[in-house]
Symmetry: C2
Subunit: 343 residues, 2 copies
DNA sequence: CTCAAGCTTCAAACCGCTTTGGATGACTGT
DNA sequence: ACAGTCATCCAAAGCGGTTTGAAGCTTGAG
């Protein structure tokens, strides 16, 4: 499909050199010629072959996203679609392509090396960082610009990242419930190897500590963030001798599960039990309206995608701009799922 | 990053030709040489530059996925992540790259032409087909292999597709409720411009017709498939003078909304009201267990992704294998959300 | 009128790989 | 000893762009 530069040049009686320069805005082309070339290119519907162009320039004009899929628990991260949508917007504007790899985590070592080795991408976005994630060192070694969506603890190599302030969010959320008189607050967390889960727990524990409340392992749970997971957590915890009166949920989906569990037991949110959830503002799970259904720590993961893309492109184009990082704060929005603890 | 073929050849005292042939399994290389080359390639961590390779071969070794994002209703399709995961598996096995474009539907015309014109992909997967979708003609015109995930009505050009049997699924689902004595069955559908929504409605109407039941516009609704959408539908429909006793939901998320709406009114699923939903088996919205929460027409969208990828790769590699199509049947699994209509 | 300077334009090399069309040499049969 | 096979290997020409170094043609100053 498509005319080549050479053909276009021939049809104009010009050399490929001149046509290339005319189209790429180089100064050494006369105004008249440039106009003529541009017009012809337009009409012939010419667009330069990406592969040839990037072979010649040495830049792939593409960013790689690697999404790990655990072979054990095959969940695809539901926030992925919205993040991608945000990043995609920016790539489109900047003339970059997004290339995606879905890799079973066993093959990860290989996947990154391969992507870079074949020169397929100029930069990489790392999804779903875990605690002490080996990918940071691996990618640093490979010498390619990369940006982590999230962070990874216990890694000493400096690296670029974009994260939300998970710790502060969950501290505030817990604090909020405590201020409402809740003394038994449960944390329904994500998988413990995920770095964000760790930070959230830490914020939660901070708040408990600051209020002089002891933490109770029975009120802390971690797992894959599905609806049934929330449901079970609610059911089981409410049957404890000393059940919680408030819940912190790690995602809207978990919050849905919690609510179902609680409502099946005849408990009403905001009156009998409270929930504060984290809300990534996923487009298909809106939590808005006059009074949002859930009180939530809110941060748009789509916006995060946009920012991450911008940062990575900067890292790619200004090699020495050093590790970049951005910590996005969340807002705590009041919804219908919280109220004072019952006496 | 990375050794080049030439360097590798030089280090071995061989010509690039021989090295290339040795690595690509051509017969005119001695066993000994091949082994030596392979070993060296391994050790040097050599992987061929994708751009150079595809420039030379004329094949991009990449498949493009274009996901449209309406500028009006900015929802990112939640089934997207799982579909992609399935397709990605196959691409990885077959040595193809997946390139993704997120495009506002205003730019679609341009997006496809651009992708093809630059020779960036060998084939394209079309997501979210609408009724009379112009993309089929556009892509046929462009002359690139493509496969539609779903179908589009009122288009005469033959094209390749992979779809689930939406009509039959919803006919069965409606039939099932009717057999249980339900006379007032509501359909909470997706956006009406989406082709799948149209087919589902058609199946639903078939079942009503076959049972001699009149359809009631008050019991049919279409919209973006979010949780609050389901909630509102439930609340509003149950307040009708002659409310439904059964619901057909277009997705798990809608079903969650319905259930919340109903349960807020003190109605119990499977006893007071019934729901049959479509379940795409999204990894983060499981509907399984001994007795699944919802009775559902079930079909794995991840498996659909796998099959779609395989079909498209076949179309790419066997240009004349003609338009391919596959209609996946769904299974109707019995869950806890249905029961006989109350007398 | 001549020559350096300034504009335009171009030929050719190159990016890293594949592939066509030999070339080389060992081996065979006569 | 000689032509004919066969098995190996290689030089060189692309693929479709970019980019370097230089050439052709005007100009204006000397």
């Amino acid at each position: 499909m498509g005319v080549t530069l050479k053909q276009l040049a021939a049809s104009l009686g010009l050399s490929p050199t001149t046509v290339s320069r005319a189209l790429n805005g180089f100064p050494e082309v006369s105004k008249a010629t440039r106009a003529r070339v541009q017009e012809a290119a337009q009409r012939a519907n010419y667009s330069p072959n990406t592969r040839a162009k990037s072979l010649a320039t040495g830049r792939a004009q593409a960013i790689g996203h690697v999404i790990p899929v655990s072979t054990s628990h095959e969940m695809v991260n539901p926030i992925f679609a919205d993040f991608i949508a945000g990043a995609g917007e920016i790539y489109a504007q900047s003339g970059y392509e997004m290339i995606l790899r879905v890799v079973p985590d066993a093959d990860e070592q290989h996947a990154y090396g391969d992507l870079v080795g074949r020169g397929a991408v100029d930069g990489i976005i790392v999804h779903g960082p875990r605690v002490r994630d080996p990918r940071v060192d691996m990618l640093t070694e490979l010498g390619i610009p990369f940006l982590v969506h999230g962070r990874t603890s216990q890694v000493n190599t400096p690296y670029s990242w974009l994260d939300i302030n998970n710790q502060r969010s969950f501290r505030r959320a817990a604090q909020f419930l405590i201020d409402f008189g809740h003394r038994r607050v449960a944390l329904i967390n994500g998988l413990e190897e995920m770095d964000f889960a760790r930070r959230r727990r830490s914020g939660y524990l901070d708040a408990l500590g600051a209020a002089g409340l002891a933490s109770d392992p029975l009120l802390m749970r971690q797992g894959e963030m599905t609806e049934p997971y929330g449901y079970r957590a609610a059911q089981e915890m409410m049957q404890l001798p000393d059940p919680p009166t408030g819940f912190l949920a790690s995602s809207m989906i978990v919050a849905y599960g919690l609510r179902r569990g609680l409502s099946d037991m005849g408990l009403k949110l905001g009156r009998d039990v409270s929930i504060v959830t984290h809300d990534d503002e996923l487009s298909y799970l809106p939590n808005d309206g006059d009074v949002p259904m859930f009180t939530a720590t809110r941060s748009s993961v789509r916006e995060a995608g946009r920012r991450a893309a911008r940062m990575l492109l900067r890292l790619v184009n200004e090699p020495d701009c050093g590790p970049l990082s951005e910590l996005m704060e969340t807002s705590l929005v009041l919804g219908a799922s919280t109220g004072p603890a019952r006496a």
